[in-house]
């Protein structure tokens, strides 16, 4: 859990929205929740690889834009009746800067 990488300023992610971060072939969706907490998950829905960054954020969940699976951003768990899990990444805000760990 060490290698923290600077992503962008918190202000550069609109509230209740996301931005994608490309690290080589992997795309990570970094979300800014309505209360300014941040979350990061791989930008691939476990259902059919939907780009989660384009979904609607509802509380601590993201609703996939393709078929509306609901995924808890903290745990990466898909809410029933669907099931599955998406990879999560540690992310935090420090002095207004968003830091991501790929650890």
């Amino acid at each position: 859990m060490s290698n923290w990488i600077h992503i962008c300023k918190l202000d550069e992610i609109p509230k209740s929205a996301a931005r994608t971060v490309r690290a080589g072939d992997t795309v990570i969706a970094v979300f800014r929740l309505s209360d300014d907490r941040v979350r990061a998950v791989e930008n691939r829905c476990p259902h059919r690889q939907g780009p989660l960054a384009d979904g609607i954020i509802s509380g601590d969940d993201i609703l996939c834009p393709l078929h509306n699976w609901r995924i808890h951003l903290e745990s990466g768990e898909v809410a029933p009746p669907d099931s599955g899990c998406v990879k999560t990444y540690a992310v935090r805000v420090e002095d207004g800067q968003v830091m991501l760990s790929l650890g």
Binding site: P14, A17, T20, R22, P51, D54, L66, N68, P81, L100
Partner: protein
């Protein structure tokens, strides 16, 4: 407005209240409604009394309309008050406590009375029928004190009652006068299999037995039969049939035969202001005892009484299912098949399956099934359709669902489907998953199914199918409901939310959710809906919430299955120019667009565009957004019209282009498509569009409420006008009316069917002041939509306005992630 007509209904049961629901649906403001019900409960699902008795559900769960429902609809409800007199001369009814209510229209929906065989001793204590909640309660009580029960009548109701008493721990004997149980529905073979199954469950039988006397002092202690033998019992249920409850009608001089005689509009033949519906009514010689036909009657009654048009009731063919868990029985039509009849049978004694079809001229005339009844509804449908089954003959009884191609007739696709057929294409949910959820979780509404399985939760295109599967699985217990909440985040429905936004001047999505007690932060169903409503109601004040828009509407492009997007610029009226074509081609080349496609809407789609290329591409295109992604004006399709066509009577192209330019930035409850044809040959397919305009000699026909999508609906004719200016005004008024009264995600066609063409005509054609007011509100709204969304995004990008622009731009970090 204040001059509402007075509608009184006698009887607060399933058929009557359904009729009231249909009336409210057809025209909520037409009547002041008063209902008298002899029972002390609001309308409940009588059918479910059997499962209640058998312990599978509870009384609380079978209430269909609680008292709040009546209050919400302004209905005056007199519970526990029996009407004793109808004074037709004074047009009023009188109840047992003296309450008098006048009516303009009266509905008699008094149901039926259980028939009690008048043998000696039938009036002793402990002798009862099985009809209502009180009967149910009485049986619960009796089972606590007494041990031996007898049920006279081995029909549907008798067996369900017996099963319930068995469940309550009683020793139960069913006495049936015929040799075959359920002889009205089953042949001897199936009847025998049923009896064996029920005996297995602990039920005892005396068949071919006539009861001659009820024994006992005050209370029943036993029965004596015709052959002199006796049976001990301390509870006796008579379930030998029902008689239409026509006494009240008969007393006031309304013509009755077996029941209250009605015409094809459910009006009594004696008095056109008096209607009758339900088990008490006799239509073409038949009084029905199952809810499916009664619900059909209810709809016809509502159409007639609200003047919606001519819909007639033509009688029904009924099918039956026994509601005893573990026993599957299905029957319909003429299943006996006399001598010489063409019968196909399948008998599997070990597996406990029996199926029999009676055919005549290669068409199904009757069906009996035991053990495996999955195909029952399919056969029933084929029977009603008069389908020729000669081709299928050899495999018919193995599985009908897997056969045939008759899926497109709409109404009964569900039962034709094999279990593993995908019903909800969006979510990949099969019929079996839905049925399982309904059975295992005890679901009764589509909303619950959606919450549990997701079916019908996305595009909603399969909602009808899901309803059918639900209906087929639940039998006739299924009740469609229209006033469901928007989604699971709220109790409120669309109308209530709109009203609150209007009355409390709510202008922000989060404010609405907060003020109206939302659960959580809302979802992809409610948030876009609220965002639309605030913008529609408060065009100048509302604050558009991007985060409450679904991906397409937020990105102004259609998201594809691989996360890329498609770009469709406006091509007004489908007419383009060499310069535009060159520009599109150049852009497609520059951005390596993998697919360039001519759409079904007369324009060009650039598919497979990367998100970060969208804005630069729009800039290079320099054309307006085609809104192909939004609940907005899509295309205005046109034909070549009088400019070129040898048949053309009107310049359809010019009118189409003009309309598209006038309306291009409008958002609606759902997408809107227009078309303009130059003559009735209708090359632009105007009559399956939300609004279709067809040129005729000297004028234009305005058609509306069509749909070419999942359920094809042809338009209805709104009016015929002379000039293009009038077309423009009426189309604008129609669309604004739809914007104001449509529910989010409800397209024009279902909206029009819901509110009725007549009411729309009144609002946008006949009432000229209202028409002008609608157009004015539309113009006010359009004035707030003065900029093209693509142009706005280009500007945002140039100004680095991160609020809208950031989402389009990925951040690259120089790190590799190990897999």
């Amino acid at each position: 407005m204040s001059e509402k007509k007075k509608l009184v209904m006698i009887g607060n049961g399933m058929a009557g209240v359904r009729a009231i629901e249909e009336i409210l649906e057809a025209n909520p403001d037409m009547f002041d409604i008063t209902i008298f019900g002899a029972e002390k409960y609001p309308n409940y699902n009588r059918i479910m009394l059997s499962p209640v008795l058998a312990g599978d559900t509870t009384i609380d769960d079978i209430i269909l309309n609680d008292e709040q429902w009546y209050a919400d609809h302004g209905i005056t409800l007199h519970l526990g008050k029996r009407v004793t007199d109808i004074r037709r001369g004074h047009k009023k009814v009188v109840a047992e406590d003296g309450t008098e209510v006048e009516y303009d229209n009266l509905i008699i929906a008094t149901g039926s009375n259980p028939f009690i065989i008048p043998i000696p001793g039938h009036d002793k204590q402990g002798v009862m029928a099985f009809r209502d909640i009180d009967d149910c309660d009485a049986m619960f009580e009796a089972a606590k004190k007494y041990k031996k029960a007898a049920v006279i009548g081995g029909g549907l109701l008798g067996l369900e009652a017996a099963k319930g008493l068995l469940h309550l721990g009683m020793d139960v004997t069913v006495i049936h006068d015929q040799a075959t149980l359920m002889n009205m529905q089953l042949d001897a073979v199936a009847g025998e299999m049923l009896r064996a199954e029920l005996e297995e469950q602990g039920m005892k039988f005396r068949v071919s037995t006539l009861t001659t006397e009820v024994l006992g002092e005050e209370r029943v202690s036993g029965l004596r039969f015709k052959d002199g033998s006796e049976l001990e019992c301390d509870l006796l249920i008579m379930a030998v049939g029902i008689r239409p409850n026509k006494q009240l009608a008969e007393e006031c001089g309304i013509y009755c035969n077996r029941g209250i005689v009605v015409n094809d509009y459910m009006q009594t033949v004696t008095d056109p202001s008096v209607y009758s519906v339900g088990e008490c009514a006799e239509h073409r010689g038949v009084a029905y005892g199952l809810v499916a036909p009664l619900f059909e009657q209810a709809r016809v009654l509502a159409w007639q009484i609200t003047g919606q048009g001519l819909k007639t009731y033509e009688g029904s063919v009924v099918s039956t299912k026994l509601k005893i868990s573990g026993v599957d029985v299905f029957s319909a039509g003429d299943f006996m098949g006399g001598p010489g009849a063409d019968v196909i049978e399948l008998m599997d004694r070990v597996g406990g399956v029996y199926k029999k079809l009676v055919l005549e001229d290669d068409r199904i005339k009757g069906v009996v099934m035991f053990g495996d009844t999955a195909d029952g509804p399919t056969f029933f449908q084929w029977m009603q359709d008069g389908k020729d089954v000669s081709e299928l003959r050899s495999t018919l009884l193995f599985s009908a669902s897997g056969l045939g191609d008759s899926g497109h007739s709409g109404l009964d696709q569900a039962s034709q489907m094999a279990d593993d057929t995908i019903v909800c294409g969006c979510n990949g949910i099969s019929k079996r998953q839905i049925v399982d959820a309904v059975v295992k979780e005890g679901l009764t509404t589509r909303k619950e199914i959606t919450a549990c399985t997701k079916a019908a939760g996305s595009c909603g295109g399969c909602a009808g199918l899901v309803d059918q599967i639900l209906a087929a699985t639940l039998g006739t217990a299924f009740v469609e409901s229209d006033h469901e909440p928007i989604c699971a985040c709220t109790e409120l429905n669309h109308e209530q939310v709109k009203e609150q936004i209007r009355n409390r001047k709510l202008t922000m999505v989060r404010e609405v959710m907060h003020a109206l007690g939302w659960e959580g932060e809302g979802c992809q169903v409610c948030r876009p809906a609220i965002n639309y409503y605030i913008g529609m109601i408060w065009p100048e004040e509302a604050e558009d919430d991007r985060t409450s828009r679904i991906a397409n509407e937020r990105m102004h492009a259609n998201i594809q299955k691989d996360g890329t997007f498609s770009v469709i610029p406006r091509i007004y009226g489908g007419e383009t120019t060499p310069d535009d074509l060159i520009r599109i081609a150049t852009v497609a080349r520059k951005y390596n667009v993998p697919t360039v496609k001519i759409t079904g809407g007369q324009r060009i789609d650039l598919l497979g565009v990367k998100k970060e290329d969208l804005i630069p591409m729009w800039k290079d295109l320099n054309m307006p957004s085609g809104y192909a992604y939004g609940k907005a004006l899509r295309t205005v399709k046109t034909c070549v019209g009088s400019e070129w066509c040898r048949f053309g009577t009107q310049n359809s192209t010019a009118l189409g282009i003009h309309l598209e330019k006038e309306l291009e930035r409008m958002w609606f409850p759902a997408k809107v498509k227009l078309a303009v044809s130059g003559c009735p040959r209708n090359c632009a397919e105007a009559t399956i569009k939300d609004v279709g305009i067809v040129g005729v000699d000297g004028g234009w026909e305005i058609h509306c409420g069509g749909n070419g999508g999942v359920h094809v609906v042809a338009t209805e004719l709104l009016c015929i006008v002379e000039t293009a200016e009038e077309v423009e005004e009426i189309v604008k008024a129609y669309l604004q009316h739809y914007r104001e009264t449509g529910r989010h995600n409800e397209r024009c066609a279902p909206w029009q069917q819901r509110v009725g063409l007549e009411s729309i005509k009144a609002a946008v054609v006949d009432d000229i002041d209202n028409r002008k007011a609608l157009v004015e509100r539309l113009h006010q709204y359009l004035a707030t939509q003065d900029r093209d969304p693509w142009a706005e995004r280009i500007e945002d990008a140039e100004k680095e306005n991160l609020k809208t622009f950031a989402e389009y731009r990925p951040i690259d970090i120089p790190v590799k992630v190990e897999a």
